[in-house]
């Protein structure tokens, strides 16, 4: 826990230092003056410092298999303004009544450029397996060619490191029919058999989802999804007589508010 916290503190310190790297010299309509304008009745004529609250389920789906259908969710919510936000991320899979891959993060998010945000905070692996706590630090945003991309590094309360890379892309077939390839990769420095994590590239969760935006905030989809363990983690799962990876036909809904 100590490591996680110290990493978080470091992350936040780094973030707060990124505020407005390029302070230009004074020009008309640029920097606020030493004596700010006193507005009558303290009424600001434009309200550009609002805060917003949004949440989205990118995945809320059933993954069909003859032996039983898994239920999977992956979503995030954020609250804040243009520069500072609090993010809550959550994902997990319900498999034969057992919750796995439960990963929940609380992140402070700082906007640093037109398309990129730095994030720092805490991750909890919370499901029916053993609980782990991590400090998290990463970057998230829109890469060239409009790829959604995120990369996060983690350090656990047991002094271990992990990383996650995730990305997705929206192909507009029509203005409402959208094909989205998506993938998430997890890396660990040391194996953790209790959580079926292996050293190196441990697991991947990917999907090809075809959604129809009935309205912007509600889009049912059909998908082909793959979830599986790789390298060492694959052996761990195999030894535990668990599914080491499977392609599933999935149905779900992407929705947000």
């Amino acid at each position: 826990m100590k490591h996680a916290l110290s990493l978080t503190v470091l992350a936040l310190a780094a973030l707060s230092g990124t505020a407005r790297a390029d302070q230009p010299t004074y020009h008309a309509a640029d920097a606020p003056e030493a004596t700010p304008v006193v507005y009558i009745g303290n009424i600001k004529p434009a309200m550009d410092q609002g805060t917003w609250l949004h949440g989205i389920f990118n995945q809320l789906e059933g993954r069909y298999a003859p032996g039983g259908t898994d239920f999977r969710w992956d979503g995030e919510a954020w609250f804040g303004g243009d520069y500072n936000k609090i993010w809550l991320k959550s994902e997990g899979t319900l498999e034969k009544g057992r919750l796995s891959d439960g990963d929940h993060e609380l992140l402070y998010t700082r906007s640093i450029s037109p398309y990129w945000n730095l994030q720092g905070g805490v991750r909890m692996d919370l499901d029916d397996g053993p609980t782990r706590t991590w400090g998290a630090f990463g970057i998230e945003g829109l890469a060239l060619y409009e790829f959604e991309f995120g990369a996060t590094a983690y350090v656990s309360d047991r002094g271990r490191f992990a990383a996650r890379i995730e990305g997705s892309y929206d192909f507009l077939l029509t203005n409402r029919l959208i094909l989205q390839p998506q993938a998430e990769f997890n890396f660990y420095t040391k194996s953790d058999a209790g959580r079926q994590a292996g050293a190196g590239l441990s697991d991947v969760d990917a999907g090809l989802r075809l959604r129809y935006e009935l309205w912007r905030k509600f889009a049912p989809y059909v998908a082909v999804t793959y979830s599986g363990y790789l390298t060492q983690a694959r052996r761990i799962a195999h030894d535990q007589h668990d599914d080491t990876g499977s392609v599933r036909f999935s149905l779900g809904v992407r929705s947000w508010f």
Binding site: A31, A46, M47, Y115
Partner: protein, 602 residues
């Protein structure tokens, strides 16, 4: 008779809900939409001017095109009543607020003392609920103007109306018939929800993007699939959309003419041979309109309330908050359509000029929607291929920066007035040049080679086979009142980040900026460089903006000036009225999200 707004854009949630609810609502609210055909929004100007008007601001439940809103209104209608004044009169307007929140009325384009301008925070503290505020000022000007709330999002919900001032001297443009044509939008989506949606997804309301389905058509237009693909990749590499024309579209807006939805078909009567004056006002929140009357030539005689040398046109674009007066002379005993399509072509406002009530004129098909090009990106007239490698999205621009008295000169030497200044040894002009805006959270691009676009009618209107008005054609009927050259130039970059939906100037939104200070009596040149891909109608309160469009001393006086994407233009301002003034983009959601500055004249 079509019902375009229902067909277009498919089934959005809003439409789905209102579509289900409309029947029931209309049944239980008898004749709510009747308010729209009442006298107040008939477009008919009151028979006599008055120096005293009473306006009651209150909530009115209004249904239009199946969209119901409990809207703040002036006098119970949208638009509110047409106020008619006489030039030279000292007028008083009693505005009574029966809302449960503060309100205000701003007299758009009217030169008033700053405490009568109606902007809470800058002019006064607003009109509290239950209170009556008396606006009192002398009218030095004449022409067509409008009024609207400057409090919160009331204007976006319907608190606006037209204002007509008779000239003291006989009107050179007096006509047999005289109508106000007030263009607007109507929706039942609350403004705060619209902003919130745009914050989450900037193209939330755009349902005309380039898709796989539209690719064959683009390939045909571009000449080859390779060219179409290259163009797409170029835009997608920049993380921008060439189809980003309007932030809010016909997906939720019903476009209105004098408060009438297209199917309600507002009508203005004429007798064949009569001269009809149409006073166009764009009182919308986010929409530019392209206006024409198929079969009739329009003679543009006034812009933003000021008479200009008549310009015959087939079509004109009217930016948010602008006004144009046109004269038409229908000769035939038939109906003519007033057709005002939104710039993004997702809908239109329409009305009819007819010899009798109840006539309908055929509507022309809508034009194809414009697509942004490298010109809009500030790449001048480069071809897409060569421009991309020069596109600077993050690097240093210091090499391009001019200094000293040459700073007024355009980067590629096209701007002759800058050259003249230095050669003719005019008094040295102070130039406040912030340099290229930073690429940061609030700004996603720079116009590397902004060009003069005042000769262009605007995106989607160039080379359409019709005579379309452009800014260079505006020539005042009399020379300006202040012929002094400017002693200072203030260069401002219009900036924004569409992805995060933040707007500003010089890469800063309002709350991170200081005021623009002008000395009382000072003559200043404002130069606007538009580093965004969208048009911005820039409105300076309290002072005239004299557009430098090549007409010399006959430059037109305007209150709202469209800055086209990737363009550079300038206008002169005489800071002759002291006080705090608002200066902003009149696209309301751009204004409220930061494209706003306070101008202090002292």
């Amino acid at each position: 008779m079509t019902f375009p707004s229902r067909i277009r854009g498919g089934l959005t949630r809003r439409r789905f809900v209102t579509g289900l609810g409309a029947g029931g609502l209309l049944a239980s609210l008898p004749r709510t939409s009747h308010a729209f055909s009442s006298k107040a929004s008939s477009g008919i100007i009151p028979p006599m001017p008055s120096d005293r008007w009473d306006l009651k601001i209150g909530h009115t439940r209004i249904s239009l095109d199946g969209k119901t809103m409990h809207a703040p209104t002036a006098g119970g209608t949208v638009p509110g009543p047409i106020l008619r004044f006489k030039q030279g009169d000292t007028v008083s307007i009693n505005v009574t607020n029966t809302l449960n929140e503060p309100t205000s009325i701003h007299w758009h384009g009217i030169r008033t003392p700053s405490n009568m301008d109606g902007v809470p925070g800058l002019s006064f503290s607003g009109i509290a609920p239950g209170e009556t505020f008396t606006y009192r000022f002398k009218l030095h000007q004449s022409g067509t103007y409008w009024y609207h709330s400057h409090s919160g999002m009331q204007e976006a919900m319907g608190l606006y109306g037209a204002l007509v001032i008779d000239p003291r001297r006989p009107d050179p443009n007096a006509c047999d018939r005289d109508y106000v044509i007030f263009l607007g939008e109507w929706t039942d989506v609350m403004p705060d929800d619209i902003v919130s949606n745009l914050k989450m997804q900037d193209d939330y309301y755009v349902f005309r993007q380039r898709t796989a389905a539209s690719f064959p058509k683009e390939a045909r237009e571009a000449g080859s699939a390779g060219a179409a693909l290259a163009d797409r990749l170029a835009w997608s590499k920049m993380r921008m959309a060439a189809t980003d024309i309007a932030d809010v579209s016909g997906a939720i807006y019903t476009y209105t003419l004098n408060g009438h939805a297209p199917d309600m078909n507002w009508s203005g009567l004429f007798r064949p041979g009569e001269k009809v004056r149409l006073r166009f006002i764009n009182g919308s929140t986010m929409t530019f309109f392209d206006v024409r009357i198929p079969g009739l030539e329009m003679l543009v005689v006034q812009a933003d309330g000021n008479d200009i040398e008549p310009v015959p046109v087939d079509e004109f674009r009217i930016g948010v908050a602008e006004t144009y007066d046109v004269i038409v002379q229908p000769k035939d005993e038939r109906a003519y359509a007033i057709f005002a399509q939104s710039e993004d072509r997702t809908g239109y406002a329409r009305g009819t000029l007819a010899p009798r009530e109840g006539m309908i004129a055929p509507l022309p098909p809508m034009d194809p929607r414009p697509v942004r090009t490298m010109v809009d990106m500030g790449m001048g007239n480069m071809k897409p291929g060569e421009s991309m490698k020069d596109m600077d999205m993050s690097g240093d621009m210091s090499g391009m920066k001019m200094d000293g008295d040459m700073a007024g000169m355009d980067m590629h030497g096209m701007d002759m007035k800058g050259m003249d200044m230095s050669h003719m040894a005019m008094p040295k002009m102070e130039v406040d040049d912030p340099g290229p805006p930073p690429i940061n959270v609030e700004n996603q691009m720079r116009a590397m080679m902004p060009i003069d676009r005042t000769g262009s009618p605007g995106d989607g209107l160039e080379n359409n086979g019709r005579r379309v008005l452009n800014y260079k054609q505006l020539r005042a009927t009399r020379p300006g009142a202040d012929l002094r050259p400017p002693t200072r130039e203030i260069i401002l970059h219009l900036t924004g980040n569409m992805e995060r939906y933040i707007w500003g100037m010089n890469g800063r939104k309002f709350s991170e900026s200081g005021p623009i200070r002008l000395k009382l009596g000072e003559r200043v040149r404002f130069t606007l460089i538009n580093d965004t891909m969208m048009e911005h109608p820039i409105h300076l309160h309290g002072l005239w903006s004299e557009l430098e469009n090549g007409q010399g001393d006959y430059r037109p006086y305007k209150h709202t000036i469209i800055s086209q994407p990737g363009s550079k233009l300038s206008y002169l301002v005489t800071a002759d009225t002291p006080g705090m003034w608002a200066y902003h983009c009149h696209l309301m959601y751009h204004m409220d999200l930061g494209m706003f500055r306070t101008v202090i004249v002292a």
